[in-house]
């Protein structure tokens, strides 16, 4: 009997051991099985954020159908939480290029009805208030920029399209008015990303509009993939169109200064726009991600003109000098050395670029040594940004991916362009590790993602993400990591001019690590606009020595007596010079 017992015991132990070893083996190559709480939870439908992008694809392979659309996060009603504006495309009219956007319902505005109970329980819910807000943008929409151009304290919206642009003035009472014509920003060329910024530092936001190529429906070209199957043509089949720069004349009106500013002396097929002070001279510069043409770095010459230093800066092309299919931009200080670096998404096979700034506007291409090249070679990336998703103080990366040409392995399927999105953790040593596998099921889902906007939508101290998909539903990725580390959000206020201080440079000084610098912005990513509040992860300590604000006109103020884990509003003049 004892022998049997011993044998049985031995057998049980042996089987258990085998199972354990096998389990380890299985996990090691089933890398998308997450065994702990996901970092992000997809919650669009659950919160009422119901929107499906319509690209109008009918088998004609019109290039605009492949581009997707953008999203803006803004607090349009100034109630303290982020609302969502989603750009709709629609049906392309084969008879004209006036792009009707028929049958798709147009762009939508969702009001955030976040409630927080006294015990801290959050209920996030969105309500579609498009009609109530008087928004009726019907063109084949592309992107959106957000900014308070008339300094009334309410954020306005500029919508780009394949066709007519639209400027929506926020009336401050929950409604918007289309003021495109009277503002002088009407344009009928194919516009993509745009950015509100104050290039002449006069306190009024100007507008930079990237434009793509001279595609027309009548001039549609026939392109095939390598095996001869019809597919979308790329930008090289058409000619690029110059960008536009509009100067705000302070009277609710803009003047086209593109030629005077020198913006049309060089141009490519523009898709992404980011604004930053890349040479640290206190004046905002503009970086443009161009598709299949060199990217541009428009350096502000302080006199109303710009000079393109893209190629010489080392931020325009691949390491071997070839233009890449650049779409999205993340602009920010990822290595905490006090200057703004650039991460640019490209198409499959090119890898995504990491251009590291030396502080003077010269960049080193560090995609290989950062680990990002190998991890991104199989992807085509669009919306992106630096977000410190775990609040450890080091800016991480999110990328919205989706192909523009048939993926070999998906050939024969209805939508052979699907890819999964990616999340990268900044190790703090100049390298990134992909953490998509533990980010949650949403990161295992392969879709055709395009725009992405970033901000703390549920005001719980961590950065959330809204992602648009081409021809598909919007995705809301709610960050679940917020309370694991300390954080700070900063909202700036200037009394009369550039009310939200777009372009300001905020430095959070702490004893626990290097100063954290963030620029106040809504631009970057792809076709999208993000939260104007600056978010800082503080790591394990909420202690802050002081906050330095370099206001858009170059003057500096210091603010002290601030601790972490809150949103603070810093008003100009209430600090110390």
């Amino acid at each position: 009997m004892m022998e049997n017992t011993v044998k049985t015991t031995s057998s049980v132990v042996f089987v258990s051991f085998v199972s354990f070893v096998c389990f380890v083996s299985f996990v090691s190559f089933a890398s998308f099985v997450s065994s702990s709480e996901p970092l992000f939870v997809e919650s669009a439908a659950a919160t009422g954020l119901t929107f499906t992008h319509v690209n109008g694809a009918t088998g004609n392979y019109y290039l605009p159908e492949m581009m997707g659309s953008g999203v803006a996060l803004l607090d349009y009603d100034n109630d303290g939480d982020l609302d969502v504006f989603l750009v709709q495309s629609g049906t392309l009219d084969a008879k004209s290029d006036a792009s009707s956007g028929r049958g798709a319902g147009g762009c939508r505005l969702f009001r955030n009805d976040l409630t927080v109970t006294p015990d801290g329980r959050r209920t996030l819910h969105f309500t579609d208030v498009t009609e109530r807000a008087g928004i009726a943008v019907r063109g084949y929409g592309m992107g959106v920029a957000a900014g308070d151009y008339n300094n009334d304290g309410f954020v306005d919206l500029f919508v780009t399209s394949f066709g007519a642009t639209t400027l929506l003035r926020n009336n401050g009472n929950g409604t918007f008015t289309d003021v495109t014509a009277e503002a002088g920003v009407a344009d009928t060329q194919w516009s993509s990303s745009a950015a509100f910024f104050d290039y002449d530092r006069d306190g009024f936001l100007d507008l930079f509009v990237a434009r793509y190529v001279d595609f027309t429906i009548a001039g549609n070209k026939l392109c095939n993939d390598p095996v001869g199957v019809r597919d979308y043509c790329g930008p090289r089949s058409y000619r690029p169109v110059p960008a536009r720069l509009f100067h705000n004349d302070r009277n609710g009106h803009f003047v086209d200064v593109s030629e005077a500013a020198g913006i049309n002396k060089a141009y490519g097929a523009g898709l992404g726009v980011a604004v930053g002070d890349y040479n640290g001279d206190g004046w905002p510069d503009v970086y443009v991600a161009n598709d299949a043409t060199p990217n541009q770095l428009w350096m502000n010459r302080h006199d109303g003109t710009f000079a393109d230093n893209g190629l010489l800066s080392g931020s325009a092309v691949s390491p071997t000098g070839n233009p890449e299919g650049s779409m999205g931009i993340a602009s920010g200080d990822f290595d905490l050395d006090g200057d703004e670096d650039l991460f640019v998404t490209n198409i499959i096979g090119e890898t995504f670029a990491l251009y590291v700034n030396d502080g003077r506007g010269n960049f080193e291409d560090a995609r290989a040594k950062s680990g990002l090249a190998a991890a991104t070679a199989a992807f085509t990336g669009f919306g992106t940004d630096w977000i410190d998703y775990d609040n450890d103080g080091w800016p991480d990366l999110f990328v919205a991916n989706g192909a523009v040409n048939i993926i070999e392995s998906e050939r024969g399927q209805p939508l052979p362009y699907r890819m999964r999105n990616q999340l990268f953790h900044n190790t703090g040593r100049g390298r990134f590790e992909e953490t998509s596998a533990i980010a949650g099921p949403a990161f295992a889902q392969a879709e055709i993602s395009r725009g992405a906007a970033f901000g703390d939508i549920d005001n719980d101290g961590d950065v959330d993400i809204v992602v648009t998909t081409n021809g598909g539903p919007v995705r809301l990725l709610l960050n679940q990591t917020g309370s694991r580390n300390h954080w700070l959000q900063v909202r700036l206020e200037q009394p009369t001019a550039n009310r939200f201080a777009i372009g300001a440079w905020i430095g959070v000084e702490r004893s626990s690590g290097p100063t954290l610098w963030r620029r106040v912005r809504t631009d970057g990513s792809y076709l999208s606009a993000s939260d104007v509040r600056a978010h800082f992860g503080l790591g394990s300590s909420p202690a802050i020595n002081a906050i330095t604000v370099q206001w858009p006109d170059g003057t500096r103020e210091r603010f002290s007596g601030i601790t972490g884990d809150r949103l603070v509003t810093l008003r100009r003049g209430s600090g110390k010079p």
Partner: protein, 454 residues
Amino acid sequence: MVCAVLVMAQTTVPPVPQLTLDSYPSSTRKALEPFYRAAVARPNDASAVGSLARALHAWDQWSAAHDTYVRAQSLAPETFEWQYLDALVLERLARHADAASALERALQLKPDYLPARIAFAEALFDAGDRDRSARAFEALRGAPAAEPATEFGLGRLAAAQGRHDEAVTHFQRAVALFPEWGAAYYALALSYRAVGRQDDAQRALERHAQYGARWPGVDDPVLRGVTALRDDADTNLRRGLKLAEAGDLEGAIAAHEAALAVDPSIAQAHANLISLYGRVHNWARAEEHYRAVVALGFNLGDAHYDYGVLLTLQEKWSEAAAAYRLAIAVNPRHANAWNNLGQVLERLRDVQGAADAYVHAVEAEPTFRLARFNEGRMLIALGKPDEAIGELQKLTEPRDAESPRYLFALATAYVRAGHRAEGVKWASDAKALALQFGQNDLAAAIERELATLK
């Protein structure tokens, strides 16, 4: 036992890929099917599997080619070809570390294969293994065919380590060996910038823009065997474009016609042939291809424009204008069509119409210097010299072979506007520049004008 199976699964050789041949066009299906059927029928036959891999490689099916090469390697590990070609595919997939490993294995089988040695050194660099990359490039010294790549590679290594003076030396040698190397000029520009030689950097960037993606070739019979597998319409079209660029018009025509023989629906081939036949003055054939592309209904902008050029060459001005207008109707931003429309309207003595057309050309493409020059000329002809000065002033930089006539036009505008001294200055500049570029007739004409002014 279960565990053993699972462990094996982690290193399993990929099966022969499943191809959805039915979704391929018939010409591609016909080309790939024999290879595919053979590999499916004999999945453990290295030659059959390797042949399929090569075919997939030829048709740019990178992932499937890689998987199939891996299978071929497992079946015949001593075959250099499968390792080497897989490495090239891995490079196309930007998997540099894997490519370097594959090349290392390949070189164990054929240590002297020069293209593999160069690719190995480059893959190591791209994978971040700088020490081994440096050794691999140093080992290439003494191989004349590898010299450009060696200098370029050593330059990149030096630049990556901040030794930009040394990098400049290497890159200068690289472009001396292959003067049309855009990438080398780009790298040289960045190193010049790093050592403070801004003007040299700018000049190097201009060369980079001029030469683009041109790269020095090294004879690679193994790869050539792969590219030779494909003789489809697309391959012929690409060959035709290369021949046209090289000035071999008859060869370009033959290649384009070969493409259409395989697939008559390639609108781009028809559109290109309008221009190619036009250049050899075969109007009838050019017209045939124009009708064909219009019937297809694609690439219409290019087609109408090229037909307009064809008619312009035949001096059929009104018909040419109509063709250009059709191109503009398809694409209102067709700068070349606007410019050419302006040229034929000048022939038809419609100066205002020509001026308007040039304005549209410049609006569509602000960097179109020729169109802006034409606009300036028309403004002078219309008696608007001040406006002409405004436009022509924008053409004073850069100074290249086109500039002498631009500066001469500017001089004329100044004189017509009553600013004689300024006009003389610009005319003198124009003459000096014309002589510099060997444009002696223009210089003589300018000199005659100057004589009348003085």
